[in-house]
């Protein structure tokens, strides 16, 4: 858990984007280990394969494609502001969390059945939504890259 929070902070504070993406992948691996410790194996496997694998590859590809000489100037006060913000967050967290957790409603009946049964029978509407989101994402990426190829071809003709 400490590794997860530390690597998340590193990915925010590190200036180099490549190092930030790798820190994010390391944080994902720590989160997956936490899932495995909680017996949530399916979530852990998804976290490692999709978030630590696929999303990191996407980030690194995008960083490689957008490498420019210009350095984005961030605020100079990060090293001063972030510890104060983090400290305030921890104090609020400790004060609020205990009171909030008592209000989580109890589950009426403990679940029965395997992961597959619950995913296919109870959450089938979610699956339709997920398929829709994936198609929308694919179409958006295709549309963005196709318009760029067209504009490049137009530039060559001129």
């Amino acid at each position: 858990m400490i590794g997860l929070v530390v690597f998340s902070i590193l990915s925010v504070l590190v200036h180099d984007l490549l190092k930030a993406a790798i820190s994010l992948a390391a944080a994902s691996i720590f989160l997956a280990l936490l899932f495995f410790r909680m017996n949530a194996t399916y979530a852990g496997v998804f976290e490692i394969s999709v978030v630590a694998g696929l999303i990191t590859v996407l980030f690194i590809t995008a960083i490689a494609l957008t490498r420019s000489d210009e350095h984005v100037q961030e605020s100079k006060y990060h090293l001063l502001v972030f510890p104060l913000f983090f400290l305030a967050l921890v104090i609020i967290d400790i004060l609020v969390m205990k009171n909030l957790l008592g209000k989580i409603p109890a589950v009426t009946s403990p679940e029965t059945g395997t992961f597959g049964e619950i995913l296919w029978k109870e959450r089938s509407f979610d699956l339709i939504g997920q398929i829709g989101v994936i198609f929308a994402g694919v179409l958006a990426v295709l549309a963005l890259f196709r318009s760029r190829i067209k504009s490049q071809q137009g530039g060559k003709h001129e």
């Binding site: 925010v12 949530a40 979530a43 210009e70 972030f82 909030l100 109870e122 963005l144």
Partner: protein, 102 residues
């Protein structure tokens, strides 16, 4: 078990706070996406911790998988938009995206 839930929910709240800080202060577009990713990590941790404590781990895992799938679609689309913007402005700075500004 309750202490375990408090610890995990505290970590989840910290992750969401770090992600919001990143979204509010960073100027680099890729860093903003990293902030969104950190918030998604906090949400998944909160879901699994609550599912485990309330004896509903399978349902929590199915919700986590939904979150991860939606997250991947969002990140892929946003990175494609960032690459497209970078070809036009030659920069990753959000302050240079002022063409729609009145």
């Amino acid at each position: 078990m309750n202490n375990f839930l408090i610890l995990n929910m505290g970590a989840a709240a910290l992750l969401i706070g770090i992600g919001i800080y990143c979204l509010l202060t960073m100027k680099n577009m890729v860093k903003l996406l990293i902030g969104i990713e950190i918030i998604a990590k906090g949400v998944t941790l909160a879901l699994v911790a609550t599912g485990m404590t309330k004896n509903n781990l399978m349902l929590a895992q199915s919700l986590v998988i939904s979150v991860i799938v939606v997250d991947v679609a969002v990140i892929a689309t946003a990175l494609a938009i960032i690459i497209s913007i970078n070809r036009h402005t030659k920069s990753l700075d959000v302050r240079k995206l002022t063409k729609l500004k009145g």
